[in-house]
């Protein structure tokens, strides 16, 4: 075995049944799915929309800022320390709050919403004279510092003499062996199998499933896409939006719902909770995604009404909710008006 200090390291994988099976499956079934350019059910390529600045800011505003929820103490097996109390001037407090804001942005960084990746099919060379050199394939990885795992070169010499770039699964496994990401297992946890995910979702542990999926997979991994879409759809069907609010997963979920044209449940939920700013942001996001334009109305109420009368799919339920909200709002304004008169 070559030492780690050399540029390329040499790993023999004698028994690789999981990966062999995976590679075969990949080349047969995934091509059918990828014949259409985007995720089944999306109106556009999510990568075009997700990274835009105004979309990011809208999603950020929709996510909300519940500081207690974001900064809840994480139990990571760490050594516990007693809390520290400090006396600060106002200027120092402001500085600390600014630092906290930076930390919050990091914690609420949204995992990218992407379509499933294309399989890697690049053959570097074919040397038939090497056929049968061994009964297993040899995998080589470049372990130099300074490159991200995404760009790291991993190549495979098959026993039939083909030198090819490693498939996504082979690459991820090798990178995890030499440059482990915390929270990621070498073998896919059984939790991500269909029956077990359903159990977790029924228990209501959406954030746990999504956090673990983020740690385990890359955002364009077919398994990640499957797990996250299933979770988002479950949350949408059961209207459990509050559990994901103020987490990093709320933004990608909202974008998923808008792209698959099922944002009406969320709008209904926001109107019922009287969160009109968020409802207006959602309608703005819809316009941004559908037509790349920001709507001309400045008034939020008008904006929402136009959406309900226009592109909405669940018109009856939304109209009912909107009417009841308008009545409550009118009563509130009247009450406020009377209060002002009384105080004057």
């Amino acid at each position: 075995m070559a030492s780690r200090a050399t540029m390329f390291t040499f790993s023999k994988f004698r028994y690789f049944p999981v990966l062999k099976h995976r590679v075969a499956k990949f080349s047969v079934s995934r091509n059918i799915l990828n014949s259409s350019a985007f995720d089944p059910g999306y109106s556009r390529d999510p990568a075009e929309v997700f990274f835009k600045e105004n979309v990011q800011s809208l999603l950020d505003r929709l996510t909300g800022r519940d500081y207690d929820k974001v900064f809840h103490g994480r139990k990571l097996g760490q050594r516990l320390e007693p809390p520290k109390y400090e006396l600060l001037t106002q200027a120092e407090v402001d500085q600390v709050m600014a630092e906290m804001e930076e930390k919050l942005k990091k914690k609420l960084q949204m995992p990218p919403l992407l379509k499933e990746r294309e399989p890697i099919n690049k053959i570097l060379s074919f040397n038939p004279e090497l056929q049968g050199f061994d009964d297993c394939k040899y995998v080589f990885i470049n372990i130099s510092q300074g490159i991200t795992n995404r760009n790291r070169e991993v190549v495979v010499r098959d026993p039939n003499g083909v030198l090819r770039e490693a498939s996504w699964e082979e690459k991820q496994k090798m990178c995890q062996i030499y440059f482990p990401t915390p929270g990621r297992e070498i073998y896919t946890p059984k939790m991500f199998e269909e029956a077990n995910i359903q159990d977790c979702l029924d228990q209501g542990e959406f954030e746990f499933v999504l956090d673990r999926a983020c740690a385990q997979f890359d955002p364009d991994d077919p398994d990640y896409v499957r797990v996250t879409r299933k979770t988002y759809n479950f949350v949408d069907e059961n209207a459990k939006f509050a559990s994901l609010r103020s987490t990093r997963h709320f933004g990608p979920m909202v974008l998923h719902l808008v792209l698959s044209k099922r944002m009406d449940n969320l709008l209904f939920h926001l109107i019922n909770s009287k969160d009109i700013d968020a409802a207006a942001d959602l309608v703005r996001l819809f316009h941004e995604v559908e037509s790349n334009t920001s709507p001309t109305e400045v008034d939020e109420f008008q904006l929402i009404e136009n959406y309900i009368q226009g592109p909405a799919l669940k018109k009856s339920a939304l109209e009912l909710a909107w009417q009841s909200f308008l009545e409550i709002d009118k009563q509130r304004r009247e009450a406020l008006g009377q209060q002002n008169k009384a105080s004057n």
Binding site: L80, P111, K190, M191, D199, P219
Partner: protein
């Protein structure tokens, strides 16, 4: 002198009881406590009572069932299914024994001095408890450490930092502690036990097409 008296007392007790002991073919040792029936191992708890008349008959062969009530509770040859253990944790018997506390809280270790040594390697040898003060899991045969028995496993996870409690705290023997660690890892793999995942940072430039 004292040992001789003790031994003779033992033999006299044996003579009084007039029971016939046979060694199990698997474990040939000096202790005459194990019994077999038709060559298969059976639990003392399920043994049938045998009257002295049967015992003293000359036709009694080595394959008869004989009960030894004093040591019945020490046998651990019966494999109890997980579902039974999960039902037991919800039962009245469990709550009256352990109350609301985890099972290890009311256990007290015996040692000289202030600082406890490492816990023993195992409480159970040759399918019976071979110690006077077995650990909290070994002493109760219905506490099965399995990845599905989440209620029991959670009692051994610290509520403060999510770590698995050390044997210094729980008092488990080393064998059971290893079983516990394996069960907890497996339960986390299946998603039966929730835990905090380390947060992951993304480089958006990796995923954006230029």
């Amino acid at each position: 002198m004292t040992t001789k008296i003790v031994l003779s007392r033992c033999f006299s007790l044996l003579a009084l009881r007039q029971s016939v002991f046979t060694a199990s073919p698997k474990y040939v040792n000096n202790s005459p406590m194990l019994l077999t029936t038709e060559g298969t191992r059976s639990s003392f708890a399920r043994s049938f009572a045998v009257t002295p008349n049967d015992e003293t008959s000359p036709e009694s062969n080595s394959e008869e069932l004989i009960v030894d009530q004093k040591n019945a509770s020490k046998m651990r040859s019966r494999i109890i299914p997980v579902e039974t253990s999960m039902k037991y944790l919800k039962s009245k018997g469990y709550s009256s024994t352990y109350g609301e506390d985890p099972v290890w809280v009311r256990y007290r270790r015996n040692f000289k001095g202030q600082f406890a040594p490492k816990t023993r390697k195992t409480c159970i040898r040759q399918e019976k408890i071979s110690t006077g003060n077995p650990c909290p899991i070994c002493r109760d045969e219905y506490l099965i450490l399995d990845y599905r028995n989440v209620e029991l496993l959670k009692q051994f996870i610290s509520p403060f930092n999510g770590a698995i409690l050390p044997t210094e705290k729980t008092g488990l023997c080393q064998h059971k502690h290893r079983e516990l660690v394996v069960a907890i890892i497996k339960a986390k793999d299946y998603g039966l036990i929730k835990f905090d995942v380390p947060s992951r940072e993304y480089e958006y430039s990796d995923y954006q097409k230029s």
